[in-house]
């Protein structure tokens, strides 16, 4: 069922020919398997990145649940599946050393990965959402740091 899942745990060699070659997949619609491939391939790249890798290595000790969370997140954003429920602002406030340059680097890698996997218009849809969310997180982190408080339970 889940060939990509195994290799997603490690940033090393990929599990199948498509992943190994990092071949363009050019999905013409957004599906759960396409989101899975996007998330897994993107974070493999993040972990190898000189700037982002150390930040994520400090923050994420167990990648399997994190990748599952991020698949749920993008599924909720792009397919309105409602699978993710969380507080990304609070999650990012816990991280030390975040800068606007790191957000830009994240967006660059995400754009590269989206561009490889999706048709141009779909990649643009992903990037529109990613840029908006990145801007929103940065406003919260860098301009509203005083609101650092846990949210009340529902």
């Amino acid at each position: 069922m889940d060939a990509h899942r195994q290799t997603a745990l490690e940033p090393g060699p990929a599990c199948c020919a498509s992943c190994a070659a990092e071949e363009p997949a050019c999905f013409d619609r957004i599906t759960e398997p396409a989101i899975r491939l996007l998330v897994d391939r993107f974070y493999a790249r993040v972990r190898k990145d000189a700037d982002l890798g150390p930040i994520f290595a400090r923050a994420i000790k167990d990648w399997d649940p994190h990748l599952a969370t991020m698949r749920d997140f993008w599924s909720s954003i792009m397919l309105t599946s409602g699978r993710y429920h969380g507080n990304p602002v609070a999650a990012h406030r816990k991280l030390e050393g975040l800068t606007p340059q790191l957000f830009e680097r994240w967006l660059t890698l995400f754009a590269e990965t989206c561009g490889e996997l999706f048709e141009e218009a779909l990649a643009a849809n992903f990037m529109d959402k990613a840029r908006r969310i990145a801007t929103s997180l940065q406003l919260a982190l860098f301009y509203r740091p005083e609101h650092d408080r846990p949210r009340s339970a529902p």
Binding site: F73, S76, H85, S136, H147
Partner: protein, 124 residues
């Protein structure tokens, strides 16, 4: 940046937005919802879900009153994370003028999400 709930939510309160919001940033008054501006991540998923077209990006013009109202009542009203039962007469109020002056209630919403188990089961 954030999204903002505006006048046409009043007495419609369909709550479809709550189901799709990934960050649970909606807060419920007696007859409308608001978005917490510090929790919204500007993903825009909720905007097309609103049958009353009451959710708009804060970049739209003339939103001062609604920006303030969302920010103020998000601090007071309870968080809502699952769709409850919309008012039976929601459609009758959809699109009516001057809903704020006529109907706005500052009272917090009641948690009625537990009263719609059949609906929740039908829409997992």
């Amino acid at each position: 940046m954030t999204y903002v709930v505006t006048e046409n939510c009043i007495k419609c309160k369909y709550m479809d937005c709550v189901e799709v919001c990934p960050v649970d940033c909606f807060y419920a008054g007696e007859n409308m919802l608001v978005i917490h501006p510090d929790e919204c991540i500007d993903c825009g998923v909720c905007e097309p879900e609103c049958p009353a077209e009451a959710i708009v990006p804060d970049t739209a013009p003339g939103l001062d009153k609604w920006l303030k109202l969302n920010a103020e009542y998000a601090q007071i009203w309870p968080n809502i994370v699952a769709k409850g039962t919309p008012p039976a007469d929601a459609e009758a109020f959809d699109g009516q003028p001057d809903k704020f002056e006529k109907y706005f209630s500052s009272q917090p919403g009641e948690d009625d999400t537990a009263r719609a188990p059949d609906e929740a089961a039908a829409n997992p």
